[in-house]
Symmetry: C2
Subunit: 133 residues, 2 copies
DNA sequence: CAGTATCCTTAGCGATACTG
DNA sequence: CAGTATCGCTAAGGATACTG
């Protein structure tokens, strides 16, 4: 319960965090986060410094192209740091920044919700299919 | 704390919630949630029963088409209920189901993160732009 | 009021091949 | 090792017009 201009406001008002500016702030995040590989990469980088090839091996199914692109976006947004070592053969290590790390708890909240509810959602989808036949 | 091949492993192991099945469960949710309108609609429906036209007015910028499509998907996944009243003119009310409501806390976690970090992220993007000029 | 139907553009992604 | 470059597909979404 919260108070706004003296009135007691029920829980639903919290959702103004979501609807706030017409959803623009939330969407700014969703647009960066909700692509196919970002959260997987962030979760993988949570173990510390990781090299390009290690990421490639630890994330099944990702192509070099998408790994590079997603890492560039994460670097550009300041969630991931990229360190190049002047060696031969070249070595590049990626790591989460403080902001990158701070993304993990909310991501875990979503993952927890997923694990809890996805089975029911899939059942619901299947039932919906049957109805329209 | 857990041990892997004799080494002590810290918190990062929590992220197996995300990486678990190669990220399939999490992606099943992200795929439904991360489109442009879903979370906005869910947040708007948190106020209770809402009619189609009310949703249309309360969500700035959404087209009839996308409102219908997104609502259908939410209904199909069991997050939203749809009630048709046999009246003239027609009346249709949408509401969150229990599962739909349960999505709000994780969504708020993400929205909170967004509000806290998006300014810094945008600054980082701008700086990145400048560097490549 | 509460939708459908149609057309169209763009962004995301995969596959493949090549390189400093 | 750590990437680029190019091509091609598909799905998301917007604009507009129509309807039981």
């Amino acid at each position: 319960m919260r108070h706004v201009r003296g009135a007691v406001v029920s829980e639903y008002e919290h959702t103004c965090l979501i609807r706030g500016d017409g959803g623009r702030t939330l969407r700014a995040v969703l647009d960066r986060i909700c692509n196919k590989w970002t959260l997987l990469i962030v979760a993988t980088l949570d173990q510390g410094n990781v090299r390009f090839t290690d990421l490639h091996h630890q994330i099944p199914g990702i192509s070099q192209r998408m790994l590079t692109l997603t890492l560039r976006n994460l670097e550009r947004d300041g969630l991931v740091s990229r360190t190049v070592y002047a060696e031969v053969p070249p070595r590049v290590e990626y790591a989460l920044t403080a902001i990158g790390k701070s993304l993990i708890p909310p991501a875990l909240a979503l993952a927890g919700w997923a694990i809890e509810h996805v089975p029911h959602i899939e059942a619901s989808r299947a039932a919906y299919q049957d109805r329209s036949r």
